[in-house]
Each structure stands twice: as C-alpha cells, then as structure tokens.
C-alpha cells in the first residue's frame, strides 16, 4: 500500500493536456497534421504511465496491492470533505490498462478515419477529454469523484454522438443519450445520498472507498422503505448503472448513439464508457455483498437485457445498430456475472469484450469508410474480395464474440455462464445460453451480409489505409489471445481468493461443451437463414414477429407515449398553460390587481359630481358615527 504515489496523476494529465491543446490551439496551430498524433501521443503517455503504475502495483504483496494519491481537497463544507484522490488497485489497474490501451489504438485508427473532417481537432480534443474523464472515473477514490468521471464521460459521449451536429438527428441522439444517462444518474445520486446520509448518522463522514468498505456493515439492518438499506442503495446505484451501461430499461440511447463517428462507437459505446456500470458495481462490491436481493435484480436485469439485445440484433440492417444491440446484450452478460456474485468474471468479460467489440466496430468503421459512409448491410455484400484484411479481422472478431474456443469470447462468456449456472436458477442460465446462440447467429449474419454473398452496390469499395488496419490487427491479436491470457493471469490478479473457483464446478466441462455447441449452431443458422429464398419465406411467415423485433419491440415509442409526451403535455398545458399562466399569474396575481383596480373603478362611480350626494355621504357618515358612539 502506498498512500502517496504521485505517478498516478500522470495517467490522467496527458489526455487532459491533449484536450486543452487540441481544444484551444487545435484549429489554428496544430491542424490535422499534429492534432491527431498529439491526441494519440497523449493517450500513449497515459498508457505508459499506467503500465508503470501496474508494475509498481505488481511489486507489492498480494494483500496490499493499492496505490493512492491525494491531489487536493476538492469540496469541503460542513461534514463533507471530499478529496481529489486517486486509487490504483487491481480493479482500476485492469480498467486503466484497457481504457488507455484500447483508446490508444482507436486514436491511431481515428487519425486515418477522420482524415479530412472539418472538426478534426475538435474530435481529438473531445476524445482526449473523454479518456481523461474515463480515467477519473476508473481511478477515483471516492464515489463523488467517480461521479465526476461518470458524468464527464456522459458529456463527451453527448458531444461525440452529436459530433456532426449539422444533422438534427445526430444532435438529438446526443441529447437522448445525455438525458437518459441523467435519469440513471438520479438513481445513482440518490443511492449515494442515502448511503452517505445513513453513514453520517453513524458518525462516518469520510467518503473514500476504503472507509466505505470498512463501515458498510453499519448499514446492515437499517430498514428504508421496507427494504434493507444496502439493498435499496444497491438497487438505486444499479439503476444508475443501467443508464450508463445501456441496460433495460434505459438502454434506448445506445442504438441511437451510433450516430457518432464509428471510432467513437468503438471506444465509448462498446469498449469503455458503457462498461462503467459494471466497473461501478464491481467497485461497490462491498455494498452488494450485503444486498443479495439487489444482486438478484442485477442478475435478472442483465439476463433479460442480454436476451433482448440479442433478439433485436438479429433483424437489424444497419451494421452499427447490430453491433450496438450486441453491445447491450454483451454488457448484459457482464451484469449477469456480477449479479451471480463474480465481479472478476464480469470484469474479465468486460476486458475481452473491449477487445473484440472494439475490433468489430473498427472493422465496421473500416467498411463504412471503404463504402464512403454506407451503413446498410443489405447494400453491401461481397466485400471480402475488396477488403480482404478487414474481412479477416471481422471474421476473427465474429468468432471471438460467438464464443468459439480458444478465442477471447469463449473464455469469458463461458466463465459467466458457469457462474450463472452455479448460482442455481436454471432459467437464467438457459436464457444466457440462448443468447449465446443468438449472438453467434446475428454476428454470422452480419459477416455474411457484409462480406460474403452477392455484391449489392455499384461503386467500388476500397481497403482502409494502414493507419486504420494496424490498430485493428493489434486488437484482433488481443481478441484471439486475450481470453487465454486473461483466464490465466487476469482473474487471479483481480480476485486472488476466487481464482480457484474457476473450473471447480464439476459440470464445468459439460457446460463448456454445451455453449460451444450452441455457438456453432448459431453460426450454422447464420449461414442457413441468410440464404435469400429462405429468409424471404420466413419473413413472410413471421411477419408480425419480425415487425415487432425490427421495431425494437416499440420500446422507444412506448417511452415516447407513456413518459415523454405526458410529461411534455403536463409541462405545456397543465403547468405552464393552466397553473402558471391562468391560475397563478392570471387569477392570483393579475386577478388580485385587476380586482383592486375594478374596485376603484366601481367606487369612483359614487363620485357623481352631485354636491348633494356628497352632503348625503357626509350625513350618512355622521349618522354612522353617532350610531357607533351611542
């Protein structure tokens, strides 16, 4: 353990500097030539810094692997004292490595992908900013600082989704992402408030994770709204995670988020940001240990989302949308792992997923780049000849995600399913398995529609330049080997105690076999159902189901009509139209004013100008006074 480890901040600072340089000076001084490389170099520096930190961390004994650094006291008022403090333990080390590593590759890729874009420097500024926020999220030593990163990555996601802001749709997608995330954040914040409030009532005011973990059992036995306090806090924070990690019911923003540049989708909406929810749950595992019912909910929601995402992915025609729903589904797996109690498995899958999904997205980007912006798979086909390298890399990614051994996806997914099975609810395990099959199916479908079969377009597609393909190759290598490496080193590093669990299940091998078979079946059906005649016949036969799935079960529409429209209507007609304009302003404020004025108008009528009447009033007043006095 090291509480004063100054190197830590050098993980965050380079990307931040990159952001400032690119943001302020970019257009005028750096231009395209330097801006991209500067951005990439910043991330590389961060990556190197995290490697150095990691090596220092590894040199520590297993029980006390923790590096901390407090930069300054951030907020201090009353009982609150929140430090800008960083923490580097195995969990954040893994995350930092993944984030900086994958980010670096994607930055390099972006130099090629974004070439010639008017907002080139802005793009890299945003991307650097994103990485620094992501690193703050990952390295934060207290939930509040984590929240800074949490919201910050949301902001960058908003900015990058709406990067091509001239299209209203892109800007709208960015807004949707931000607001949906904010809904989740409300849960996160309330959860934190509840936790801090309850702890403060026990005299615990510090907010760092270590203190929280040490004192979390003080919450045990506290009842809030009929639930145990840890359970309800856990649920609230998980609600926050569903927003950031695109889980049911807040997943709706992610498909729309594909409006951003494809490398952004790869980095933010596949590899890093969306997995923040998983990371957060892992970080708060000490809390969830006290809240089995909350974990149950995590498991169920993850399982449901995984299945739902996979089902919707099967019928999407936009190549990025398929990957988006696939991401939703895969993150569902991670939550299943977490829900089953194995944070290590969740983070393991997070890691492998980062590799292969980033690879798939970059490959998709390569295709889109090669097709000059086309995203509809039905307008592709036969690309394998023209984009050979991309095809090979995509195929590797597809196999990895399908769970074919010995690729990365196989190891992690299988571990997840194993834990779910061990958790003991068969239906969940079966759903997970079915999802695996579906995954293999839709990814094969993607591969076939894009690269194999008939060429459905007139123009010529071209292979991407080296600067784009090299990162993909690196990622592919990771996707191929990451699983094996991970299962060998990562799991023990993350969770030394639970390392033995893997393979302990006597049924492990059987389960493994089942899932491999399922994956193969999925791939086979992918080939089978993409035969044009067959797919058309099926489409006719299950028209209704097909429509429902194609339209994503109308969830967006349901939200629109059940929540947004009524809320807007309430705001427009009830609150503003009626309450504000008519009741408060019209009736109460101006009404009172008008009433007073009217009263004046009426009373002045008494003043008729007839002096005799005045005398009468005089007499009347006199008589009244006399009557009063007598």
């Amino acid at each position: 353990m090291n509480d004063f480890y100054p190197l830590l901040k050098w993980i965050i600072l380079p990307p931040l500097a990159g952001f400032i340089l690119n943001g302020l000076l970019g257009r005028k001084f750096l231009g395209e030539k330097w801006g991209g490389w500067l951005g990439a170099a910043a991330i590389l520096a961060a990556f190197i810094a995290s490697c150095l930190c990691l090596s220092d961390l590894l040199s520590l004994p297993v029980e006390s692997r923790l590096l901390r650094d407090t930069l300054f006291n951030w907020i201090s008022a009353g009982n609150f004292s929140i430090d800008f403090a960083l923490r580097f333990d195995p969990l954040s080390a893994v995350m930092a490595m993944v984030v900086t590593g994958v980010s670096f590759l994607i930055h390099v890729y972006s130099i090629g992908y974004m070439r010639g874009d008017k907002g080139f420097n802005r793009y890299f500024a945003y991307l650097n900013l994103f990485v620094s926020f992501m690193l703050i999220l990952v390295l934060a030593d207290n939930p509040i600082l984590m929240f800074v990163g949490w919201e910050g990555v949301g902001l960058c996601s908003y900015l990058l989704i709406g990067f091509w802001y001239e299209d209203e749709k892109n800007a709208a997608a960015g807004k949707k992402a931000f607001i949906t995330n904010r809904v989740g954040d409300a849960g996160f914040l309330i959860g934190l408030m509840l936790m801090f409030g309850l702890l403060a009532s026990q005299g615990i005011f510090a907010t760092d994770f270590a203190t929280l973990a040490r004192n979390v059992n003080l919450l045990d036995g506290k009842i809030v709204l009929g639930f145990g306090a840890p359970t309800i806090i856990g649920l609230l924070m998980f609600f926050g995670a569903t927003g950031k990690s695109a889980q049911f019911p807040l997943y709706v923003w992610l498909p729309d988020a594909m409006a951003g540049p494809t490398p952004v989708s790869a980095l933010i909406h596949a590899a890093t940001m969306v997995t923040a929810g998983v990371y957060m749950l892992a970080r708060m595992s000490f809390l969830y240990a006290l809240a089995p019912r909350a974990l149950e909910a995590v498991l169920v929601v993850g399982c449901f989302t995984a299945f739902l995402g996979a089902v919707i992915a099967t019928l999407q025609s936009d190549i990025k949308k398929v990957l988006a729903y696939s991401t939703i589904s895969q993150i569902g797996y991670m939550f299943m792992a977490v829900g089953a109690g194995s944070y290590a498995a969740g983070v393991f899958h997070l890691t492998t997923h980062a590799f292969f999904k980033a690879l798939l997205f970059l490959a998709a980007g390569s295709v889109i780049h090669g097709m000059s912006g086309e995203q509809d798979m039905f307008k592709m086909g036969g690309l394998s000849k023209e984009m050979r390298l991309t095809f090979v890399l995509t195929a590797a990614g597809c196999l990895a995600i399908s769970g074919i051994p010995p690729l990365a996806g196989f190891y992690s997914k299988d571990l997840v399913l194993e834990h779910v099975h061990a958790h003991g609810i068969p239906i969940l395990w079966l759903t997970g398995l079915a999802t695996a099959g579906l995954t293999a199916y839709y990814i094969t479908r993607l591969l076939i529609l894009t690269f194999l079969g008939k060429k459905n377009f007139a123009t010529h597609a071209h292979e991407s330049p080296l600067i784009m393909t090299i990162p993909m190759v690196v990622l592919a290598a990771l996707a191929l080997t990451g699983g094996w490496l991970g299962s060998k080193y990562l799991l023990t590093f993350l969770d030394p105690a639970a390392a033995t669990l893997s393979g302990a299940d006597p049924e492990a091998h059987r389960l493994m076999l089942i899932s491999v078979v399922t994956a193969l079946a999925g791939i086979a059906s992918g080939f089978f159902f993409t035969i044009p005649v067959l797919s058309e016949a099926l489409a006719l036969k299950f028209r209704f189901a097909r429509e429902v799935i194609r339209n994503k079960f109308y969830v967006d529409e349901i939200y629109e009509f059940a929540i947004i429209r009524p809320l807007k209507w309430t705001a427009d007609s009830v609150f503003f139209g009626f309450v504000d304009s008519d009741m408060i302003d019209g009736l109460m404020v101006n009404g009172a004013a008008k009433l007073t004025y009217r009263a004046g108008l009426i009373i002045r009528k008494v003043q008729t100008g007839n002096a005799q009447l005045y005398a009468l009033a005089f007499t009347g007043g006199l008589i009244l006074l006399l009557y009063w006095i007598m």
Binding site: R604, A611, A615, G621, I629
Partner: protein, 473 residues
C-alpha cells in the same frame, strides 16, 4: 411674564399682524399703481420669507394670550413657519402660473388671509377661536377656488362653499353641544371636564362626533372627503396645492386635538381607527383609475390624510411623526401640483397620459416630479418613506398592528398609481401634447422642494428633532 417672554410674545403676535398688513398691501398695490404685474405676489413672498426669519430656533415657552383664546407654544412655533413656508411656495408657484394672474391683488390677499386663518387655527386655545379661524380660512378658500371665474372654477367654488357651509352648520352644532355639556369653550378645560374613566354624556359624545365629522371634512377623511377631488381639480392649481398641503395640515392639527381630548373614550379611538382605515383603503382604491393628474393627487391627498391619522395612535411620538409627515407630505404635494401648474393649459390640469415623453423634453421637470411622486409613494430614501416610517412606528407603538398592516398594504397598492405617472413620463414616447416653459420662479420652487424631499429623507434627524420639541401639548 418676564421680558424675554414678552419679546417672544410680541414677536409672535407681530407675525399675524404683518401678514394682515402684507395681504392688504398686496390687495391695494394694483389698485393704487394700476399696474398688472407680479408685485403683489412678490410682496407676499418677501413678507412671508421675512417672517420666517422671526422664529427663534427653540421656542419652548407656553404663553396663553387673550384669556386663553390664543396659545403660543413650541407647537405653534413649529407650525407657523410651516404655514408661512407653504404660503411662500404657493406664492412662488402662483407667480409662474397663469392662474395667479400676476396683477390680481385679491388673490394674494385671500391667500395670505387663508394662511392667517391657519395660523390662528393651530394656535387656538378655545373652540371659538377655532371656529373663527376655520371660517376665515374657509371663506378665503371658497373665493380662491372660484377666483378665475371660469366654469370649472365656479363649480369647484360652489361645491366647496356649499358643502363647507353644510359642514359649518355641523361644526357649530358640535361646538354648541360640547359647550353645553362641558360648560366651557377652552380646550384644556374641556379635557379636564371630561373625567377620565367615566363615559361621556351622550350629548358630549354627539357634540364631538359633529366636530370630528366637521374637521374630517376639512382633512378629507372618507366619507367626508367627497368634495376634495372635485374642488382640487377645479380650483387653480396653486390653490389646490395650498389646500392639499397647508389646509389639510391645519385640519389635522385640530383633529389631533379632538383625538387627544376624546382619547379617554375607547369608542372614539375606534372611530378614528375606522376613519383611518376606510380613508386609506378607499382613497387609494379610488386613486387607482384616475387619469387627471390633479384628481389623482387629490385622491392621493385623501389617502395621506388616512396615513397621518394612523399616527395619532402613537401618543406624543405619533404627534411628532405626524408633524414630520405633514412637512414632507406638503413639500411633495406642493411640488407635484407645481409641476402640474408648470404644464397645464387650463385649470382642469393635466392628464396622466399628457405627461408622455416629458423626460425627453423637460428632463429636470420630470426628475423633480419623479422625486415628488416617489416621496408620496413612500419609497426610500426619499422623505415620504421616513414620514411613513415614523408614523407607522408610532402607531405600532400604540398597539395598532392591524392598522399599520393595512396602511402598509395600501401604500403598496398606491405605488401603482404613482408609478403610472413615472411610466408616462419616462416610458411612453407619444408625441408631446404639452409644452412647458417653466419660469425662473417655478424652477426655483421646484428645485427647493426637490431638495427638501430628498434631504429630509436621508437627513431626517434635524426636522424630526424640531417636530419632537413641538410635539408637546
């Protein structure tokens, strides 16, 4: 009587006599010189200014003269200069205004006689003196209201006269009843005669009611106020200013003495309470929809009478506050009427909307009017606010919480009609309907009044101390 006192008494008596002389001079100069110029006005102005220098800085003596008919006291030492100043300002405005008809000696004569009436009224020790003073004042004002011989002036004059004589009848009846049941005309003796704690004789009560009604008429408390808007509107504007500022003050003083005499009886307190409330409420409400500026100011003066009566409930603090209030209120009222006089084309005065764009054409006139209006509205740091503050503080001390709350609420309501004047001057840009060429006299009067209204706000201490020394009975 020691020599010092004698000198003091002599000096004091010289004041009314000089005023009479000045009035007569003003009356006769045009007849003698047969010239139609501003000499009479200047005579009144200079003589009142000279008289203003007569007053010792602290007149603490109580001198009863003519077997109690007149009383000199710190009280009169405060109010006499006040009336003289009001007279001076009115004369100054009249010098400008076409109503003043520079040559009309009788106008200035009547004005100075009205002031004389006021001077006697506040120093009266007896009911009889009060009666004579009131009549001197009233008869002069009847004539002043109609002095332009215009139809509106005639209507205003006849209304004032008719209702005034109706009120006089009431007053005399009141005097008769009070005298008959207490056996004396001397105010102090009357107070002594009314044994504290014992209920009044019904006829005594009735007599006081008649008196209260009669002086409420002069002060314009609702429902005895109804002549006020018509008369203020129809009279020559400087006369309206004088009525609003000085005449009201005289009435208030007498009303306060009645209040002080009857204070032993709770019903009388209730009566004053009720009069104050309905005056404030109705006066302000009726002012809201007014379009004629003079009429608006008339209603405003009605409501201000209500505020001052509120101060009665504060004992000697209240009197002090009321005395302070009278001065700041008078300054603002004369000022506001002076602006009307500077702008008006006929004696019906100026419509509020005619002021549109005044700030552009006559920024100083508009600025002065702003100060007067804001002072009347009681916005700090102008004097009007401090007047209200002292009065309401005194009333609260007297335990009249609700009265003060109502008064404060109504003064917030009054902001509406006062602000409308500012709206017209500064925020509406209709083409000019009124062109004014304020004379030097008017300019002087306005700047002095504006200075008073501002200075008495921030530095209200000295005048307040004067009022304090005066508020002894």
């Amino acid at each position: 009587m020691n020599p010092e006192m004698a000198i003091y008494a002599g000096q004091s008596l010289a004041i009314p006599l000089t005023l009479v002389l000045a009035g007569l001079t003003a009356l006769f100069i045009p007849i003698i010189t047969r010239r139609d110029d501003s000499t009479p006005g200047l005579v009144i102005l200079t003589s009142s200014l000279i008289l203003l220098t007569f007053f010792p800085s602290s007149g603490t003596a109580f001198i009863s003269m003519f077997s109690g008919a007149l009383t000199l006291s710190p009280f009169t030492n405060y109010l006499w200069p006040f009336f003289l100043a009001a007279l001076a300002f009115t004369a100054l405005i009249s010098l400008h205004a076409r109503d003043g008809k520079p040559g009309s000696g009788e106008y200035y004569f009547l004005l100075s006689m009205a002031a004389l009436g006021l001077i006697f009224m506040v120093s009266a020790g007896e009911l009889l003196t009060i009666f004579i003073a009131v009549e001197l004042l009233s008869v002069c004002l009847y004539a002043l209201a109609a002095i332009n011989r215009s139809p509106t002036g005639a209507e205003a004059g006849y209304k004032y006269f008719l209702l005034g004589s109706f009120g006089t009848g009431m007053l005399v009846m009141g005097f008769a009843l009070v005298y008959g049941t207490t056996g004396t005309l001397n105010l102090d003796a009357i107070k002594l005669a009314l044994a504290p704690g014992l209920p009044f004789h019904p006829l005594t009560s009735a007599g006081f009611i008649f008196l209260i009604a009669g002086f409420s008429f002069k002060v314009a408390l609702v429902p005895f106020h109804m002549w006020v808007p018509d008369v203020y509107e129809g009279s020559p504007t400087p006369v309206s200013a004088f009525m609003g500022a000085a005449v009201k003050a005289g009435g208030i003083v007498v009303l306060y003495r009645l209040f002080a005499i009857t204070a032993g009886a709770p019903q009388f307190r209730e009566i004053f309470w009720a009069l104050a409330v309905i005056t404030m409420v109705l006066g302000n409400l009726m002012a809201l929809p007014q379009h004629n500026l003079k009429r608006l100011l008339a209603y405003s003066s009605v409501s201000h009478a209500g505020y001052i009566v509120t101060g009665f409930f504060g004992g000697s603090e209240g009197l002090k506050a009321a005395l302070f209030y009278l001065v700041v209120y008078a300054a603002a009222t004369i000022g506001a009427f002076a602006v009307v006089a500077a702008l008006e084309k006929d004696e019906r005065g100026v419509m509020v909307k005619d002021l549109a764009g005044l700030s552009g054409r006559h920024p100083y006139l508009a600025a002065a009017m702003t100060l007067f209006i804001l002072s009347l509205a009681g916005i700090p740091p102008l004097a009007g606010f401090f007047g209200k503050f002292y009065v309401f503080t005194a009333a609260l001390r007297g335990g009249c919480t609700w009265l003060v709350v109502i008064a404060l609420l109504m003064s917030a309501v009054s902001a509406y009609y006062y602000l409308r004047v500012l709206v017209a001057m500064y925020m509406e840009h209709e083409p000019a309907a009124l062109e004014a060429a304020p004379s030097r006299a008017m300019g002087l009067a306005l700047s002095l009044l504006a200075l008073i209204v501002t200075a008495l706000g921030i530095f209200s201490g000295p005048l307040l101390r004067l009022a304090q020394s005066a508020a002894i009975f």
